[in-house]
Amino acid sequence: MESILKVNNLSKKYGDFSLENISFNLEPGYIMGFIGPNGAGKTTTIKLIMNLIQKDSGEIRLFGEILAGHEVKIKDRIGFVYDQCNYYETFKIKDNVKLIAPFYTKWNWDTFDNYLKRFKLNPDQKLSQLSQGMKIKFQLAIALSHDADFLLMDEPTSGLDPVFRSEILDILKEYIEKGERSVLFSTHITTDLEKIADYVTFINEGQMVFSTDKDSILEQYALVKGGLELLNEDFKTNLVGLRKNAFGFEGLTGNRDQMKTRYKDNIMIEKASLEDIMVYTAGGIR
């Protein structure tokens, strides 16, 4: 089966910021989390995928095809949820949707009405009256109502309460159930990804850190704690990030097994979360 999304050596210079050689691949039936600190280039990458900005180099293939010449056909198969709700705020939900629905060949009003009921959204409400969380629900209802094969979401869970975040995760699981659809979503809330992501792509300062399956990452990385006397140059080469305090150090290693073998008696190794990996990698060695 063809890849849903294939990004190859994608680069884009954007003022002072540059995104360099980003590559990852998303197969049907999987959820990929897209993580990185603020300003890492997540939104830029998503905009490049949607052709909202022009790439400098590299290639993006959606459903096996490049966007140029196939944009209408490809975008018909994509559901999108952006961090900002860019729909008409002064319009009612139903009026906004009336403008969107005719663009999609597989738009289903029944599905949309069901999602409105499920999300407790009133079609006669104006968008300006909705909370941030409700606006995300509104965007999600649109994204899920035209039988899209690929759901692309930029920070969909930020600003949402834990109950609805959990509901979204359930919806995403349902969405990919048949094994033909995929989800890419960027987020700061890495605990959400730990619950549902199959793959994680991590970028930092426009550079690719990794893109691999979540379980391998969590096996490969570990938190290391020990005394300051251990911190020689040789030791530091095994660390991705490091914090020192009065009692010793705490760092992140990407060579869990190697560290375990070499420094078994002198260090404490703990399981690293995705948040630890993101925080330590972004912070570097201090």
């Binding site: 909202l52 975008k75 900002q84 860019n86 008409y88 005719p102």
Partner: protein, 206 residues
Amino acid sequence: MKELLYRSFYLQKKIIAFEIAFMSLLMLFGDVFLNNNGVFLRIIPSLVFLSVTYVDQLDESTSYTRVLNSLPTSRKDIVNAKYLSALILYFFNLLIVLGFYYGFLRLGWISDYVTGFWGGVIVSFIISGLLVAISIPVTIIYSYSKSKVINMIMFIMMFNFSNVVITTTNSDTLPNGVGYVMIPTIFIMLFFSRIISVNAYLKKEF
């Protein structure tokens, strides 16, 4: 394309309703409205300009352009729809005027020949075409705040310029073909304006 036109007219529905009501009201003044210095030839371009810029400014101010460009449509079609909806609106307004014109003629409320009526039709087309040919690329190329100011200045200038056009295309000069020559010129301007707009829109980042 039809989705884009539907969107455009749906957004303008209140303006269009206002246009019908306003034009109908003005028509009660009969030949004052229809003669060579008639109001309609200034009103039509104003309404076309108002409608076209309303949609663009609404999209830019809300960043709706990000949504629009994520939908299954091409950038080229988005630009084409802007020009097409402007032309449709022009002819829609003209249709209202013509409806009243022939209606009044039939009822005998106005004389058979309203001085300079067809000259006025040409002038309204020239001014509408000029406004559209300039305002669409301006809105695409410049930022929302800049384009708003440029369009405003241009609109005021065009309103004054209409006096010049009215003078040169009134019933005395029309037989010389001044007005008729300007019609293809406006179509050529619209054609080049569309090329500039499409090229700028293809490079635009949202």
